[in-house]
Structures are given as C-alpha cells and as structure tokens.
Symmetry: C2
Subunit: 239 residues, 2 copies
C-alpha cells in the first residue's frame, strides 16, 4: 500500500483547485481542457478505438461532468462514438459551450440511460468528483444501481461515483458499495479513496498535467514522472 503522502484529501483538492484559479492564474476552461484531454487519453490506452467503440459518458452536474464533456469531445476526435447522458444541465456558460461543441460534432445526447448502457462498449463515469457528498440524488441513484449490476467496463474520473472521496466505498449493502470500475483516472493527484481501487487487470492513471513539482511539494503529494509528452501516467494497482 502506498504511503498517505500520495493522496490529496477532498478538502485539499478543493483548496488547491481554488488556488490554481486565483493566484495560480488558471481559468476553469484551461484546467478542464487539460483534465478532460487526459481522461480521453486514459480511455484510449485502456480501450483503443479499434471498432469505433461506443462510450457512454455519464456527465454529472458539476466540474466532474464538465471533464467528462471535454473528454467526450476528444474521444470523438480520437475515433470513438461517444453518447452522452447529461440529465442535470446547469445553465452555466462553460457547460453551455461544451454542450454546443458536442452538438456541432453530432455527438448524441440520450435521455434513456438504461438502453444506452445496454448498447455501449464502455462507460465513462463523470458523475461526481472530489466535492461529492451523499446522499446521491435522483436520477443518479438509479444510475449507480444499474452500474453496480452491469458488466460493462467503467472508467471513473477522479473517484468512482458514490464513493466517499476520503473514506472510499459505501458500507456493504448501501448504494454504491458494489461499484468497482475497471479504470480510475485520478486528476491532479489520487484522492484517499483510490486506496480501495484494487483488483487484477484494473488500471489506474493520473492525468491533469498542469501541476509543477513545486505545487506538489507544497500540497504534500508526490508527482510521478509523466513519460515524454504523455498527458497521463499509469500508477500501480494492488491485486
């Protein structure tokens, strides 16, 4: 098991994000673009677009959903056939623009999650990120319940949705306790819940290549070396 120094708590992840967008000089557009791009690349490394794979992107109402929408745009340009389920669309400029970009690429939006899940090759879980707090509101409770029962490969952005960012999966018997994605893409740094992401053949990537060694040092997490110009670096997963 890796040392706790590797992990960025929910509280610190929020504070670091706020710092990047204030004194750091970053815009949400910039950070989300690089984060979403890295998510698309992690999907590519895990499930190459050999057969123009259908990827069902489940976008939540916040920035995790925004990362998913950016990823969907890049997946389309990478040769995938993304389909978006985006039931709660806040009327915020950046989300409206991401929506427009996807419409221009003729990426379909669906309102029938269950059918879309049945016909997809992979699922990109962009429902909740590091600011998630239970309870899971409708319709995402039903979505999580279906994902628990599904055998479709799931790639989760930042945390497996329904998991507590710091403490991990819900207790046995609760909604989400049976949800374990095949691939986890941690953004900026793995959150503590990533300790519970285990299993043979499962893959863990780190993305969001906008963090300097100095920032990592200041916030107390390790920054693994990205290979070459890659936007993701693969991390070990315990069996």
């Amino acid at each position: 098991m890796a040392s706790t120094r590797l992990f960025l708590s929910a509280k610190n992840a929020a504070a670091l994000d706020a710092e990047l967008m204030s004194s750091g000089g970053f815009s949400l557009d910039q950070l989300m673009e690089l984060a979403g791009l890295s998510c698309a690349h992690a999907v590519y490394k895990s499930y190459p677009p050999d057969q123009k794979n259908k990827v069902l992107v489940i976008a939540g109402p916040g920035n995790n959903g925004g990362d998913g929408l950016v990823a969907a745009r890049h997946l389309r340009l990478l040769g995938y056939n993304p389909v978006i389920y985006y039931p709660k669309r806040p009327n915020k400029d950046i989300y409206n623009r991401l929506f427009t970009q996807l419409q221009n690429l003729k990426v379909p939006f669906t309102e029938d999650f269950e059918s879309a899940l049945q016909s997809t090759d992979q699922v990109l879980d962009a429902i909740f990120g590091f600011s998630f707090h239970p309870p899971i509101r409708s319709p995402f409770d039903a979505v999580i319940s279906l994902l628990e029962k599904s055998t479709k490969p799931v790639i989760s952005i930042d945390i497996p949705s329904s998991w507590d960012v710091d403490s991990g999966p819900p207790e046995a018997g609760n909604l989400g306790s049976g949800f374990l994605p095949q691939v986890l893409i941690s953004l900026t740094a793995p959150k503590p819940a990533a300790k519970f992401f285990v299993g043979e053949g499962h893959r863990h990537f780190l993305g969001g290549r906008f963090i300097s060694a100095e920032i990592a040092e200041k916030w107390g997490f390790e920054l693994p070396a990205y290979p070459g110009t890659e936007q993701v670096v693969e991390l070990p997963v315990a069996k």
Copy 2:
C-alpha cells in the same frame, strides 16, 4: 508541391477562428491551450529536452504570442528551461493570466533579447500569426534582423514571423527575406506561406487538434490523420 486545397488563407483562418469562438462554442482559453500544447509537443519531437535545453520564446502582442506563452508553460513541465522575451504585453485578461502562470513556474522573462539569443539552445518564434500585416514594428524589426543572422534553430508557430501569410517570404533584400526556421508548426491547417517552407532536414508539424473532419471539409482543407493520441502530426517537407 501539394495542392492548394491543403492551405487555409489568412482571411479564412481568421473567419474559421471567429466561427469556432462564436457558433462553435469554444473559448479562446480552450483553443489556445490545445494550440500551445501542440507547439510544445512539436518542440519536444524536434529537440528533445535531454539537457534541459534553454528555449527562448519570443512572444508577440497577439494570439500567436499567447500560443507561445502556453507552449512555454508546457515546455517547463516537459523538462525544458524556457526563457521569455515579451516586450509588448497587452493588458488583456488571458495574457495577464498566462504571465502569472509562468511567473509561478519561475520561468524567467528577459528584456535583453540579444544576450538571450546568444545563450539559448533553440528559439520558439511566437511573434506573428495569421493576422500579421507589414510593416514590422519595433522592437520586432530588430528581432527579425537578429534571427536572420543567427544560426540558432528556430521553431515558428503558424508562420515564420515577417513572412506574408498568403504570399510567403518578403522579397530579396527586405527584412525577413533571409529568415527560414528549421521547424514550422501550422495550427488548424497550413497557411499558403507554408509552400515556401522547404529544405532538407526541416520539419513541418500540424497542431491544434480541435478540428473535426466536417469543419475541414466545410473550409476546404485536408485534415491529415493524427497518430494515436498525439497532439501533432508531421507533414512532408520538400527538399
């Protein structure tokens, strides 16, 4: 010689950019982030950061300069030692933020172009882009003059600065007529001046991977296939 269908004129490049940022739903932050990232990757492919190369980034006052500033940030994260010459800094939010980001990364800004040129390993020419019109104003006239005489490898973003976007290098004897970079990074699509970018060992990349096949078709240029998740694709250069 490639067909003219490969090229995007100065007028059409401006119109396409305007379309991307209006009905396209893109922000300048998003487009510049992807453009600048691809420029950094083209530098990496041409001059890998084996010895923590010094790269002198010459940033002009417009969006080409902004692409250069984004590239400089990514170059720093890729292991280079960028140094910025940015003599005309418009007081515009996005440029101020890019400046802040570079300051936070401790990327030095210099006011002594001549000394910086002497001590650098490579030069990233981010002075003028597709909206360039002569004459070249001070201090960039002196910069172009020094680049003409220098033997340092130059990587130009979108067009070799001083060249006319549509008609190519200035006539013999005029400022810039002796300026031929080693590497050209065309953004979105090569501009007509790229026809004059020739020479053995010279390399031409296309970057700015945000264009769909439909957009390329609509604007009448060809979109070469980017390999895998690469942000640049190399184009042939006539000897």
